[in-house]
Symmetry: C2
Subunit: 197 residues, 2 copies
Amino acid sequence: MKNIITVTREFGSGGRELAKRLAAALGYQYYDKEIITAMAQRSHYDATFIENFPYQVHHSFAVYSPAQKMATEILLLERKVILEIAAKGNCVIVGRGADLILRAYQPLNIFVYADNQSRLHRCQVNAPAGENLNEKQLLKKIHEIDKARQNHYLLLGGDTWGRKENYHLCVNSTNLTVKNLVPAVAAYAQAWFKEQA
Amino acid sequence: MKNIITVTREFGSGGRELAKRLAAALGYQYYDKEIITAMAQRSHYDATFIENFPYQVHHSFAVYSPAQKMATEILLLERKVILEIAAKGNCVIVGRGADLILRAYQPLNIFVYADNQSRLHRCQVNAPAGENLNEKQLLKKIHEIDKARQNHYLLLGGDTWGRKENYHLCVNSTNLTVKNLVPAVAAYAQAWFKEQA
């Protein structure tokens, strides 16, 4: 059985950094943007389009719009790419609902979150060149991105995104330098996988 | 600043065992039943009465019943005892709303939870002599105890008991032997305290 870790994270929580460093600490493959790239290579959509696809949850099937058709197509492709990754070997996968898609692989599912102040600060420090949002605008962006992640989760058949019962370990990164937590989280992952063996 | 860890746990999650072993691993004092004992010594209530006090949440202040008066008395005593403990030195405190009472001490707050199947199993293995509940009765007991903890939490001014945002680390103990997780959780605690320094 392969050791697979999925990291789901609130935007601005530092979850991606935690995942990347965790993979390095454990000697596992790391997958993040690579998933999008692989999806783009196999479809007629480009990576930016896939990455920013505005998933919506419709509570009626009366209308099957072109956007819904596209969403289905992207989600199926995503599932395929993630299943291929999981078959390769030990890895850490960030986002993309890998915790749901890989349920049968019994991955260690980690959720990373933080309070608004901490997320704002992290987003300001890591802002892309040219982005100049005030706090209110940035908070709006943070919540919009989380909302999209939530919708994506629902479309994959999940219930409530971020509900602690859906994860094995929930890490609150508020006021922490993520780097300094990595050895302990790596130790936790190793102990956890040993328990499943 | 003293290093204080509070462990809040769902009944049957193994949180108490985790807390006890965590204290031993870190060389911290461990407080659990000791709190009840100290409270009993200073009041005219006995330990069993305090431990099983049926906290209720009233949404009206129109009636201040004898039970409410007793609850207030017990909660004030509890606060006093826990504040004295915190002043003594590094420690791990189980339950009793210590995370709320000691907010000013910036403790590391850990929440331990597990799925129903796993909690049932743990309760069956650790059942007190003479207890002979079937699964349905045991599950009812589990949820009643959690409900009392939730009420206790509300009476101390908390919001939702078990809401991950109120904790720094949430550990899902489903299908795990708690003992084997202790070194990693201890490492996490040490890294976390270092970050606060």
